[in-house]
């Protein structure tokens, strides 16, 4: 069979950084090819070269048996390559239809709104996606926006579709839709290049995987004949005995943090939860079930209509985030770029931002103490930065996330709420964050965590509360007699009864 993409000996150097070293790989029509590697392994650079955003220093690219030399993304598009970007490229004020067919006016340079709407409706139907083409894009939930992004790429009817972490913002329903779309494209003999940080998706979507490490080609493996450990081993160059740290060892510790009857009458209703000393409690839910609003309410960022909070058995009262922080409640939000960090400020400024009240006298910042604390945090979290003066925007995603967590830790929280603490970061940084959270829990910090990666919830949490449309639907854990399994979390997250293990004996028999 003739290969659809052939990358031959591509080399690319940026000022001081050898981003790609002699990389070659081949994809065939009708296959889903996964590009895998840690952040900084060279995946993005390779894709940018494929789509004509960068030009390689040396090496060749062959598309469908023809040597190509794209100087601009438009040329790549004309040659049948379409890419779904990780960062949304949609214009928020335009309608869905306008976004899908952006840049495609009729011959005289005018747009035909009705034709656009019709075309958008047709393509959404064709791929079985429910979406109102007339909706303003910014009004859609983020997962739906991502689907629009995918439709936009499909509208160009590409021979080769590149998906750069398309699922990080999708709920599992939409991931299923995407899976069907990808199957459809495969059956039409098209090629899909796929990048994801979620291991189960790599195996679900992919046929072959090419692994990159530090800009070098490592191996191409047949995914039907390999397993997670093989891939991870190739990615990091050593075997990861276990991705997740040990679980809670302090059984039956006292309840440290308690939320009672929390409601806002819109997003969450009558929430009761407890966190014991040493415990990491997880929320098991699909996206958009009110978990973010619940976190915000507990953190003092959102009003609630009822509910009380107890810390160490004593009721605490607060109505804003500052008071909540003073009382020891810290919140790491889901969106590090938009909410967690000031990207254009330095690592040092960001790290101390949530704890300035501890580092000041008469309004003056104690700079020496501030720098000491920040340096300690950089060391403790292994944040890779040239200096505290470096702007956060220049760090990799994983290190940015560490700063986002570190700034809350500098305020020494007693209760730590984390919303998507590992979204879009590489495996190694994820692992470091898991270990950090476990050691914090061991030190006595009560931790409540939501992550959309189910394997993470299972591996990290000691107890899981499932949430569906703002109500708690189940509780999983040893004490509760229900195992933390994928199936049980899914049941709870979809408002089904969780399966209880009927007793210890059954467990022993198995």
């Amino acid at each position: 069979m003739r290969p659809s993409i052939e990358v031959r000996n591509i080399d690319k150097t940026f000022v001081g950084v050898h981003a790609l070293k002699d990389v070659s790989f081949t994809c065939y029509p009708g296959q889903v090819h996964v590009l895998q590697g840690e952040n900084g392994a060279g995946k993005s650079t390779l894709l940018k070269i494929l789509t004509g955003m960068y030009r390689p220093d040396s090496g060749e690219i062959w598309i469908n048996g023809e040597k190509v030399n794209f100087r601009h993304p438009i040329e790549a598009k004309k040659n049948g390559l379409a890419m779904v970007y990780q960062e949304m490229s949609l214009l928020p004020e335009l309608t869905v239809a306008q976004n899908i067919y952006l840049n495609q006016g009729n011959k005289r340079g005018f747009t035909d709104e009705r034709a656009l709407l019709r075309a958008a409706r047709e393509i959404a139907q064709k791929y079985n996606i429910e979406i109102d083409p007339y909706a303003r894009t910014a009004d859609l939930p983020i997962a739906a926006q991502q689907m629009v992004e995918i439709l936009k790429a499909l509208a160009a009817e590409p021979q080769i579709l590149i998906l750069d972490e398309p699922t990080s913002t999708l709920t599992s329903t939409e991931v299923d839709k995407l899976y069907q779309i990808v199957q459809e494209l495969k059956s039409q003999g098209k090629t899909v290049l796929f990048i994801s940080h979620r291991m189960e998706e790599i195996f679900r979507f992919g046929d072959y995987a090419t692994i990159l490490k530090d800009g070098s080609y490592i191996d191409t493996v047949n995914l039907r004949e390999s397993d997670e450990n093989t891939i991870i081993q190739l990615m990091v160059g050593r075997e990861l005995k276990s991705i997740f740290p040990h679980k809670n060892t302090q059984k039956d510790a006292e309840v440290m943090f308690e939320v009672q009857n929390f409601s806002d009458n819109a997003h969450f209703h009558n929430i009761n939860l407890q966190i014991r000393r040493g415990e990491i409690v997880g929320i098991g839910a699909l996206d958009g079930q009110g978990q973010t609003q619940l976190f915000q309410a507990i953190a003092g960022l959102r009003r609630r209509t009822s509910g009380t909070v107890k810390l160490n058995g004593k009721e605490i009262v607060y109505h804003n985030v500052r008071k909540a922080m003073k009382l020891g409640i810290g919140y790491v939000p889901e969106d590090r770029k938009g909410l967690g960090l000031c990207l254009e400020m330095s690592v040092g400024d960001n790290l101390s931002m949530a704890s300035l009240r501890r580092r000041q006298k008469f309004g003056f910042i104690k700079k020496k103490e501030e720098a000491e604390q920040a340096n300690q945090m950089v060391k403790r979290l292994n944040i890779k930065t040239a200096s505290l003066l470096q702007n956060v925007v220049n760090l990799s995603g994983g290190n940015q996330q560490k700063v986002s967590i570190g700034k809350i830790l500098e305020d020494v929280p007693k209760v730590l709420l984390l919303n998507e603490p590992t979204r879009g970061i590489d495996v190694e940084a994820k692992q470091e964050i898991y270990r950090l959270l476990r050691s914090l829990a061991d030190e006595g910090v009560a931790i409540l965590c939501y992550t959309s990666d189910m394997m993470e919830t299972i591996g990290l949490c000691d107890r899981v509360l499932t949430l569906y449309e703002g109500r708690i639907t189940g509780e999983l854990g040893e004490r509760e007699g229900a195992l933390i399994t994928e199936e049980n979390i899914m049941r709870g997250a979809m408002n089904q009864k969780v399966q209880k293990t009927t007793g210890l004996e059954d467990g022993q028999n198995e």
């Binding site: 000031c342 009240r357 003066l389 700034k407």
Partner: protein, 321 residues
């Protein structure tokens, strides 16, 4: 080793824009000195610093507002109102000098509070809110004096604005130096300063970090109005009497000086050290064109073009990094 080099480069990167503005300022001064020898005498520098002080004090407030990501277009009208009010209260009487200062500051606090509330609570874009306030304040000034400002400065205020202290600086220059030092310290070393940068960089993140976004926003607009009022007050001493045209042009001049000084118009980065050079550059351009005996209209055109070129150079430099 490598890390140290990185560090030095980072530090350099952060101060380079400021160094650049000062270089432009010195270059401009040298050029003027060539065109008109004797420009750079101590006497003349004193007079430049006096002229710069008025714009400089307005820029103290404008800098803070712009750093938070806002803008204040009411400043020149607040300045005018303060000027008119002070003239009427003082009416040449020395004993009224400081009553007038208290009065104009009081009014300014109210104006700033109004601006801040509109921007923070009603979420009206700063440009529109402050322009509306400014227009209303101009109307109030007009009604207050019926379009013909009365009264005049007292000897004390005249001395404060025009007299020399310590042989070199006029009172208003000294006030500027004190305020400039204060605002530089505030921005560098205080929680308020850090909060201003955080709000200008990412308001939501500042909010999530427990920064007092509401209080800081209100304080910043109040400081801006008070600075404009103080400038209007000293301008009365400088010119002797009040005019309805007092302060005209200060909005645009202050914004230009702040941005030429390296502060981002979108907020979050920059500082007052650069603004000082920006202010001096604005005054020097004015002097240069005056020396060249250009007709007023031509002068305005050239001035506009020069500012545009400088802004291009400043913002062009930022993209390079």
């Amino acid at each position: 080793m490598e890390k140290e080099q990185d560090l030095r480069q980072l530090k350099l990167q952060k101060i380079l824009p400021v160094v650049f503005v000062y270089a432009v300022m010195i270059l401009l001064a040298v050029i003027i000195n060539c065109v008109s020898t004797g420009f750079l005498t101590v006497d003349h520098i004193y007079s430049i610093l006096k002229q710069a002080a008025f714009l400089g004090i307005v820029c103290v407030g404008q800098s803070l507002v712009i750093l938070t990501g806002g803008i204040d277009l009411s400043l020149e009208y607040t300045l005018l109102f303060s000027n008119v009010l002070a003239a009427a209260i003082i009416s040449g009487q020395n004993e009224n000098t400081f009553t007038a200062l208290a009065a104009v500051i009081g009014v300014a606090v109210l104006i700033g509070l109004l601006n801040g509330c509109g921007v923070y609570f009603l979420k009206i874009p700063a440009m529109i809110m402050t322009l509306s306030t400014g227009t209303a304040v101009y109307g109030l000034a007009y009604i207050y004096c019926n379009g013909a400002p009365g009264g005049f400065t007292s000897d004390i205020l005249n001395q404060l604005s025009n007299g020399r202290f310590g042989g070199i600086f006029s009172g208003v220059t000294i006030v500027w130096i004190i305020l400039a030092a204060a605002v530089i310290v505030i921005l560098r070393s205080t929680v308020l300063g850090r909060s201003i940068y955080a709000i200008g960089t990412n308001r939501d993140s500042a909010d999530y970090s427990g920064i007092q976004v509401r209080n800081v926003t209100l304080i910043v607009y109040i400081i801006a109005s008070v600075m404009a009022a103080i400038t209007g007050y000293f301008l009365l001493g400088y010119t002797g009497t009040s005019y309805m045209s007092t302060g005209s042009g200060y909005n645009m001049d202050s914004i230009a000086a702040v941005v030429i000084g390296g502060t981002s118009i979108a907020g979050g980065s920059g500082g007052y050290v650069g603004t000082i050079a920006g202010v001096c550059i604005m005054v020097l351009i004015n002097s240069l064109l005056t020396i060249l005996h250009m007709p007023e209209a031509v002068k305005q055109i050239v001035q506009g073009l020069l500012i545009a070129v400088l802004l291009l150079v400043v913002s062009g430099r930022k993209k390079e990094r």
